[in-house]
Subunit: 341 residues, 2 copies
């Protein structure tokens, strides 16, 4: 039995709460500078309020990116508060990207609530995303110091958008044949779409914490591999995960014909024609899941995730990180991508 | 007869062509760094190509913002090329904002062609706008030098988004009563939505040209007033302009129930109830136009535009600008907002 079958409750590491509490005042202050109408949409997207402004019943995001920024500063030997501007910027960018991605992907729900575009309309959701994006840049640019931080953020923004473009285009490509999506292409997409901002968060925190060069580069590399691992584990859960734990419908990703990593691997094996037909018809996702597993898609995905987690470890081991922060970083990684894969 | 009735061809000042030629290589290079699919949407939005990538038959935008950035640098005594990074950034931001605004406003056409969201789909258009936004920040941040330029751009971005939020919310407010949109609110919206980026363009060019403080501030102020004047003249043309010159349908803004400046002024006079009924029904835009003119809406709008143009002149006169650039700036302003108002 692997962790992915387990229904044991995952313990949220205290570091997430600690970092959220540290960042929240600055994040609230930044969001408070938005146009009030746009500010409500931002607060809704952050899980702080319901439509109309009443306090939220639902929990917000885990705050992984803000925690990485704070821990990046601490890993550099600075107090966590040195990373707060980075934490605010990456959290705003993450919120912007969820908001716009839900429009592009037509996803009507996010964290068990209507997506912003469903709750407020597409036009307002586009605007709210733009406002969060501008606010992220403004927050980081307003900080005293060199322009390197803005360069780091804008490079991650570019990657984020490129990854999303790849992801959108993958949907239009055929299951098989020379135009099929190769697992390597998926990996590059996941690194851009998910890894770049995770890496940027930690590297930016470290940079604001006063270190540059080797430590920042190592944290960026760790974050990028973490992003790929996280995405692939998410894909495995999207097919074989327990809906009670994941909160997603059984075989949801198969029903939506998503070109996830285990699917792409299985499509490189002799079962490809049968699998493609099953996926295309969408009639029997359980049979498709069984065929993907039979073709080695599940085990290859887990092996790939493990490879990227090993690369995360290697990157962290190669950098001189403050011990307490390094331990917190590891507890966060364990929580994000269960190590007993 | 005022210029607004004239059908005499408006002479495009050579400064626009000169600046476009100077900026084009860097702008092409920046757009070339985008994901190829996103790059095609950007090139389409810039008027460089048709859907599919064939060279464009339609002309692109005038390139006012890039010209202001180049002239800002020249006004500071630097060669125009010093302002090119600023020109690229503001042109990318402008293209981003047109792209997203057309989605929000549901405008299906732009420069007599289908808007990007009509030609490529809403999701891809959201993505292309995001990519242009990220590229603008990246372009400016990549430039050696202090972070002040990014701060100037991000402040303008914030204003742009706030102005668009106001504009969207104005549409939902009543024609009359305590909730009606006041002309002062319209002015603030136009300054943010149109003026902020014009001011930013010239100020950023001057800053990259090596001057800061008084000259940059004066150019920013001039650009902001220009934006308000331009917007109000556009409003007057949207009701009384010659479709052969404006390329817009007669009374188009009235048919679309837009809360433009002349309308808002007329709604503060005793004709308000009659005018509100006419505007609401939309049945007789010619009668609405006549009533707005009778109530002084047209003349008040022209007076307001003249006031802002005088403020542009005052701002330019107060700053130490290189003479040739100052002359070019004035020819550009004359072209944008005909002076014989």
């Amino acid at each position: 039995m692997t962790a992915l079958d387990s229904t044991a409750p995952v313990l949220v590491p205290p570091v997430l709460d600690r970092c959220r509490a540290l960042v929240r005042p600055a994040l609230s202050e930044a969001v408070g500078r938005l146009h009030p109408w746009v500010g409500e949409m931002a607060a809704y997207a952050l899980g702080w309020c319901e439509v109309g402004g009443a306090p939220a019943a639902a929990p917000g995001g885990k705050g992984v990116r803000q925690a990485l920024a704070v821990l990046g500063a601490e890993a550099a030997g600075a107090p966590g508060r040195a990373g707060v501007a980075a934490a605010v910027a990456v959290e705003l960018v993450h919120t912007f990207s969820l908001l716009h991605d839900d429009i592009m992907d037509g996803d009507a729900a996010r964290r068990r609530r209507p997506a912003v575009w469903k709750a407020y309309g597409t036009g307002p959701a586009v605007l709210a995303g733009d406002a969060l994006f501008a606010l992220a840049v403004e927050t980081l640019a307003a900080r005293p110091g060199g322009p390197a931080a803005v360069r780091t953020l804008s490079a991650a923004l570019g990657d984020l958008v490129r990854g999303q473009a790849d992801d959108l285009l993958f949907a239009a490509r055929p299951w098989t044949g020379p135009e099929q999506v190769r697992p390597e292409e998926y990996r590059a997409m996941a690194e851009r779409k998910t890894g770049a901002l995770l890496g940027c968060a930690a590297a930016l925190g470290a940079a604001l914490g006063g270190t540059a060069g080797r430590t920042s580069a190592a944290l960026d590399r760790a974050g990028r591999h973490l992003g790929v691992a996280f995405q692939i584990v998410d894909d495995v859960l999207g097919v074989w995960g327990d809906p009670a734990v994941t909160g997603k419908p059984v075989h949801g990703d198969l029903r939506e014909r998503k070109k996830t990593f285990p699917v792409l691997v299985a499509l490189r094996t002799p079962v490809a024609p049968r699998l493609a037909a099953l996926l295309e018809s969408g009639a029997d996702p359980a049979a498709a899941a069984a065929l993907i597993e039979e073709a080695g898609g599940r085990s290859a995905a887990l092996a790939e995730a493990r490879r990227h987690l090993a690369a995360v470890d290697a990157a962290l081991a190669a950098a001189p990180l403050e011990a307490g922060a390094a331990a917190d970083l590891r507890s966060l990684l364990d929580f994000l991508v269960r190590r007993d894969l």
